[in-house]
């Protein structure tokens, strides 16, 4: 391969940290990284990818966690001819101690290209590029240090949640504990693909949805509360006294006109029935307004990317559940959904597409969930009813 990378070199310039510098840094120690650089330069020249997928590769006993990848120019780039990635299930909340991180680095320096993604967009640690032979020893070394593979293929994918109670005042349930518990409970579902297609679970502690769960998870858990948000009128006045334009920036932006600012008594009033817990007022006045205390979550289903029938956002399935260990209500619901999907779904049919095909009504019936208006923005407009 040529040592020159004139195109990529351009991307070493500019203030944002350069991924090209990262590859070059790894390339100093690892030939695979050097070939990666060459392949990337070639793609920049040719304007096409030089990767192809090949046979199924993996580690003993698992069907997922490894993405097999081969370069289409193995002669030119022998050290990246096979360049599989390993998906490592991250610790809940993406917290690390440096000891663990350094152990990961050492293992990957030994068995892989030395290049990583922190993180993949599902949330895994992506170890980028190794050979087929190295997969098993690398896996063994990883488990030795307490790490395990995440999901891939037609399996449950690595579950992710927001930072939640670890560092956020708005968490309505313990996102970290929930996803850790579900991850342990469903190891088999994560590691051994057997469903019609992939299935994703994500949990956000409040409707701000800091892990984009509603857009990216077939099963979306978003924290909420059943009582009223809490207002500290003294703190409210403090905001106002410091020049905060509460009328324009908060009252005027409440989606349901649930707030009223009484200029006379300097009080912020809540029409509690009208609050849809959008978080806006809380977000903008965190010292004065807080979620309620009867906390739990809304469960929504169906979120996914566009393949094949178009993208979906998750929609409300269960307006409110308490989310407390051992999380049996959530687990039961998951199992029921998987059974139903497994029984009715076609290959490569995500949950949303199946429900759309068979009808939400039938899904609810089969699952024994009663219809409530919270599930829909609005009732049907057409008269085509199967009575």
């Amino acid at each position: 391969m040529s040592e020159e990378t004139p195109l990529l070199d351009e991307l070493e310039k500019g203030p944002w940290p350069s991924y090209v510098k990262e590859i070059k840094r790894a390339a100093k120690k690892k030939k695979a990284a050097k070939d990666l650089l060459g392949i990337q330069e070639l793609s920049y020249k040719d304007k096409v990818t030089h990767w192809k997928h090949g046979g199924i590769v993996g580690v003993t006993g698992y069907g997922s966690g490894v993405i097999g990848r081969y370069c289409d120019q193995p002669e030119k780039f022998p050290d990246a001819a096979a360049f599989h990635t390993m998906r490592i299930n991250h610790p809940a909340g993406w917290f690390y101690n440096t000891k663990s991180l350094r152990e990961l680095c050492d293992i990957w320096e030994q068995y892989g290209s030395g290049m990583t993604n922190f993180h993949g967009s599902t949330g895994d640690i992506i170890l980028l590029g190794t050979t087929t032979e190295n997969l098993q020893p690398c896996f063994d070394a990883l488990t030795e240090k307490g790490f395990d593979l995440g999901g891939s293929g037609s399996a449950l994918r690595t579950i992710a949640g927001c930072v939640g109670p670890a560092r956020c005042e708005w968490a309505n349930f313990d996102t970290l504990n929930l996803i850790y518990d579900l991850t342990l409970e469903f190891q088999d579902e994560i590691h051994r693909p057997r469903w019609p297609y992939k299935f994703k679970i994500k949990a956000s502690g409040c409707p701000n949805d800091c892990v984009a769960a509603i857009a990216r998870a077939d099963f979306t858990i978003i924290g909420t509360w059943r009582d009223n948000l809490r207002i500290d009128q003294v703190a409210v006045r403090n905001y106002v006294d410091h020049g905060f334009d509460i009328k324009t920036l908060v009252v005027g932006k409440c989606p349901t006109e649930a707030l009223e600012w009484d200029e006379g008594s300097k009080e912020l009033r809540l029409k509690a029935d009208d609050c849809v817990r959008c978080m806006h007022c809380i977000n903008k006045m965190p010292k004065a307004i807080r979620p309620g205390v009867d906390s739990g979550a809304t469960i929504l289903v169906g979120g996914k990317a566009p393949i094949i029938k178009g993208a979906y956002l998750s929609w409300v399935l269960v307006p409110f559940v308490k989310v407390e260990p051992p999380y049996e209500e959530v687990k039961d619901l998951l199992r029921k959904i998987w059974d139903w999907w497994d029984e009715n779904g076609r290959t490569r049919e995500r949950l949303a597409e199946l429900i759309e095909r068979i009808g939400l009504k039938n899904f609810l019936k089969d699952l024994g969930i009663p219809p409530v208006p919270q599930m829909v923005y609005k009732p049907r407009a057409n008269p085509y009813v199967y009575f």
Binding site: P91, M115, T116, R167
Partner: protein, 354 residues
């Protein structure tokens, strides 16, 4: 052979003590400067978080550098955010300046909080994916170089969240981002009949096509398929199940730009991103046309939107016709939906702006 099904490390082992102590007890937070959060607990404790940008593609040596900083200031702990940023937490306010200083030394910018452009959620691109119609990391670098000022400040009307996906599989939340760049093919699959024979199951391949464009090869001696090109909308679903049908093509491939999506439930419900530019060519290493459009949109948004109004909320308020006018982006036939729920996007009112 190693153990199996042990799952990830227990997160509790990964938390610094000052987080463990205040777990679930946080009372409020402040953003004391761009990139620096202060969370205050009911116990009276305070924790300071310094958020640093990351290229996501990290060499192990760089991770070790990061660990060094965490050891120095953060009791040997750190976390990553859902947007690949790195968060350094400390319960000592005095550590903040040193942290920022040391991050600067290793080239990591501090920012991405509040009304900023945070890091770009993105995907593999030519670095690793066989499906890629464009690169991801390169576009991200090119855009973030231009958005740097918006990353390190909080002067935008609201959050601007950008995502890049290298093909329409849209690994990430491209479909619900304020700004989204997505790789697209524009040529039908090129079929390698010999490889089809070797690698593909023909019925599965035929079934995979959402538009029914794939048929058995008319010559019964050739055990392969053909594609009715007029029916193909380049989704690459066939390629996923049959690697002998690649769509990648230097001229055909490029990127589309979508805008106005959001995920949070704050104020307006989540929204999908919508097409603003149907196609721009792949022009590595810096995709100048793409960067220009992104800059243009962010600038027009920044100077027109109201405070706390996300891009999509702003567009919804002013109307898409006004958006195209203000940005000068041409409206084309590709912008008009013709997929399954297309009619729901047609304007069934006389209300519009000139």
């Amino acid at each position: 052979m190693g153990r199996t099904d042990i799952g990830p490390p227990d997160y509790r082992e990964m938390l610094p003590d000052f987080i463990k102590k205040n777990y679930g007890k946080w009372r409020y937070h402040e953003t004391i400067r761009p990139g620096v959060l202060k969370h205050v607990s009911e116990t009276g404790d305070e924790v300071y978080t310094v958020r640093a940008g990351s290229p996501r593609l990290l060499s192990v040596d760089s991770i070790r550098d990061i660990c060094d900083i965490a050891d120095r200031y953060c009791d040997g702990h750190l976390r990553f955010t859902s947007r690949y940023n790195i968060e350094f937490m400390t319960d000592k306010k005095a550590n903040v300046d040193g942290l920022i200083e040391d991050l600067k030394k290793i080239g990591l910018p501090v920012g991405g909080t509040g009304n900023s452009v945070s890091n770009i959620v993105h995907t593999q691109g030519w670095i690793h994916c066989h499906s890629a119609a464009t690169d991801a990391s390169g576009i991200v670098k090119a855009i973030m170089d231009e958005m740097y000022e918006y990353f390190t400040s909080m002067k935008l009307p609201a959050y601007v969240r950008i995502a890049v996906a290298c093909c329409i599989n849209m690994c990430g939340a491209v479909h619900c981002s304020d700004l989204a760049i997505v790789g697209v093919h524009r040529k039908p699959p090129k079929i390698d009949h010999e490889k089809v024979l070797a690698q593909c199951e023909i019925p599965t391949t035929i079934q995979s096509c959402p538009t029914g464009a794939i048929r058995r090869h008319p010559d019964p001696n050739i055990k392969s398929v053909v594609v009715r090109e007029d029916l193909c909308m380049y989704c690459a679903n066939c390629f996923t199940v049959c690697p002998a049908m690649p769509l990648a093509d230097p001229e055909g491939d490029g990127v589309a730009i979508y805008a106005g999506g959001k995920v949070s439930n704050a104020r307006k419900p989540p929204m999908f991103s919508r097409m603003v530019v149907p196609f721009l060519p792949n022009n590595p290493p810096r995709w100048p046309e793409v960067v220009d459009v992104i800059k243009k949109i962010v600038d027009v948004y920044a100077s027109n939107a109201k405070r706390y109004e996300r891009l999509g909320e702003w567009i919804e308020r002013i109307g898409w016709e006004k958006f195209f006018k203000l940005t000068g982006i041409p409206f084309t036939e590709q912008h008009i939906d013709d997929f399954t729920h297309a009619v729901e996007t047609y304007r069934t009112t006389t209300q519009f702006k000139w």
